[in-house]
């Protein structure tokens, strides 16, 4: 049986449905990320697990015990917020000692544990500072150390890195991953940032309107989005319309007809008429690609924007669909809006979605 087992959780605020029947199972020691746009119910689920939000229906079982209505104080789950929530009147060491004093550990044991936690988050030299005297990243490390000090069964993190700048966020991601591996604690991490989710998680649960719409390993979710929402939410994906003619087994899109790509399944994606496909910007090649088995089409450049590692092109195809693609910087030097590019995509890179979602 799973370590954490959430069943059919529902929570409404007046007419707003925050959780609409959420099922989730997590194994001990797993790093699971709840990923979704703002307002999709991630915090509500996390706070239900923590015990601060009482679900209307459904249950939460941890290690075989139903904790749905247990007080938060008794759950032994660490909680880390975006705003750190450090006790401003206590020093770094006293903040970390707080849960240990509450548990009435003896002095020597508390001192040793605080020492150990300070070393774990690399803040030994800051033990006597007040939170206000630390940078955002350091404060967040104190908050994590404090939440891990007493050996919680689960660590719940609600967008803990969102307030940090980009470089710091990336080093904190590595730090969190290391802490997860060193402590072996189960992490449930909330974010709206997909790169953050990819970088750290064992599994990602994608939230949409109070439901988990897809759950799986990062690469699996990226490669196989199973609904229009997930395909659109993850990675600046190109969603396009194609026309399926069952009679001759062809799909028509971007102004050419081709035989059915390998990932197209008429039974799932549409037997006849309009179907929905997607292709990643990085899978569209520009110029004269070498491989033979490609689908080629012309597209007119609408906009060029520099994104740092590459140039991002927005183009329209001859059948009027807008696509985004990426080309190396040197390649884009002569490209101007209005230019017509010859594009190519491998049939196996094209995915399809069931029509109704």
């Amino acid at each position: 049986m799973a370590f954490l087992d959430i069943r059919m959780l529902r929570k409404t605020y007046g007419s707003a449905v925050a959780l609409d029947g959420v099922d989730l199972t997590v194994q001990a020691g797993e790093f699971v990320t709840l990923l979704g746009p703002s307002g999709s119910g991630k915090t509500t689920l996390l706070m239900s697990i923590a015990g601060f939000t009482r679900p209307d229906e459904g249950g939460i079982v941890v290690d075989g015990h139903d904790v749905t209505f247990m007080d938060p104080e008794d759950r032994d789950f660490g909680l880390v917020f975006q705003g750190y929530a450090l006790f401003p009147h206590l020093s770094v060491a006293e903040n970390i000692a707080f849960p240990l004093k509450v548990r009435k550990w003896d002095k020597a044991r508390i001192a040793a544990k605080v020492e150990e936690m300070l070393r774990l988050v690399d803040l030994t030299d800051y033990a006597s500072r007040k939170p206000k005297q630390l940078s955002g990243g350091q404060q967040q490390r104190v908050a994590i150390a404090r939440a891990l000090a007493y050996g919680p069964r689960i660590l719940l993190l609600d967008e803990p890195l969102s307030a940090l700048d980009r470089n710091l966020r990336e080093s904190m991601q590595r730090e969190l991953k290391r802490l997860h591996q060193e402590t072996g604690v189960t992490f449930i991490f909330v974010t709206h940032d997909q790169e953050e989710a990819y970088a750290m998680s064992d599994r990602i649960a994608v939230f949409h309107a109070g439901r988990i719409v897809q759950i799986g390993a990062p690469r699996e979710i990226y490669a196989n989005p199973q609904s229009l929402f997930v395909a659109g939410f993850l990675g600046g994906n190109n969603i396009f319309k194609a026309r399926h003619a069952a009679a001759d087994g062809t799909l028509t899109f971007f102004g050419n007809a081709c035989s059915r790509p390998p990932r197209f399944n008429p039974a799932v994606h549409g037997k006849e008429g309009e179907v929905i496909g997607w292709v990643r910007p990085e899978d569209i090649a520009v110029g004269d690609p070498d491989a033979a088995a490609t689908i080629r089409f012309d597209a007119t450049v609408v906009d060029i924007s520099f994104v740092g590692s590459a140039e991002k092109l927005t183009v329209t195809t001859t059948d009027g669909q807008e696509l985004t693609l990426q080309v190396p910087m040197h390649f884009a030097v002569d490209i101007r809006p209005g230019a017509v590019l010859r594009c190519a995509v491998k049939p196996e890179a094209i995915g399809f979605l069931p029509p109704d979602i």
Partner: protein
């Protein structure tokens, strides 16, 4: 431009500010020389300064000392009660920032808005029904109610700087509500609580309007004693007692300022 004009432009606001300050404070400060007069009626000192009127305050039969003790007792009791209730209310409102605290706040702050005389008439009716007119409890409760607004505002102000998530953080770390209160909330709002208590004390200490209506013979607070004395004498002891009251109020404000400044290094 002419330098004189610039000088005037710069100096005028300053002069105006000082004049206004003098206008506010001189009448208050004049009681000090009058209290030191060597004559037997209210006047400025004639030949020499004298402490005789301060000495007469200590005469029990003159009634000043008992009134002072009454006032201090009521002020301590009502300010302690007001501070405790104000803290409970302010913290409750801070934790559940929902709708009823807003309505409650309005009711609680009403003594600041409702004219004291209207309040006084209402209290007379209410207290006569509960047989609380001219009793210690009656006066203490009224003073408590009147001091609540300032205490709530002072405590609320220090709570406004505190992240409500601290409560969730503390509870997730295993702290039950009493520990959350004692170890997390209270240490962070202590300056506000102290300021609230001082405000409440001062409010009770010089309250006169409502007190006049709800007391008669048994409870004679210091302001009431002054009030009745002014009506039938020109005893310079009045000026002496006014100087004492002034002193107590100033000491109270100083304590509050010290507490307030004492917390500044902590915050930056």
């Amino acid at each position: 431009m002419m330098p004189g004009w610039i000088l005037l432009q710069r100096l005028l606001p300053r002069i105006a500010a000082w004049l206004l300050l003098a206008f506010l404070f001189l009448p208050i400060l004049v009681v000090i020389p009058v209290s030191l007069t060597d004559r037997e009626y209210l006047s400025l000192p004639d030949q020499s300064l004298s402490l005789q009127h301060f000495a007469s305050l200590l005469n029990w039969r003159a009634g000043w000392l008992p009134s002072m003790i009454t006032s201090i007792g009521i002020a301590i009791a009502s300010s302690l009660l007001a501070t405790a209730l104000a803290a409970a209310f302010a913290i409750g409102a801070w934790v559940h920032a929902g709708r009823w605290p807003t309505a409650m706040r309005l009711i609680l702050l009403s003594p600041l808005i409702v004219p004291p005389i209207i309040y006084a008439v209402g209290m007379v009716r209410l207290w006569s029904r509960f047989n609380l007119l001219d009793t210690w409890i009656g006066v203490t409760l009224v003073h408590m109610i009147l001091s609540m607004p300032l205490a709530v505002l002072a405590i609320g102000a220090s709570l406004a700087n505190l992240d409500p998530r601290l409560v969730q953080a503390a509870r997730s770390l295993g702290a039950r509500p009493p520990i959350v209160f004692a170890k997390v909330i209270l240490p962070n709002i202590l300056p506000g609580v102290a300021a609230g208590a001082v405000f409440a004390f001062i409010t009770s200490w010089d309250e006169i309007t409502v007190t006049l209506f709800i007391t008669s013979r048994r409870i004679v607070t210091l302001p009431r004693k002054i009030w009745t004395s002014i009506a039938d004498s020109v005893d310079p002891a009045l000026a002496a007692i006014a100087a004492v009251m002034l002193l107590v109020t100033i000491v109270g404000l100083l304590i509050r300022m010290l507490v307030w400044d004492g917390r500044t290094p902590n915050r930056s």
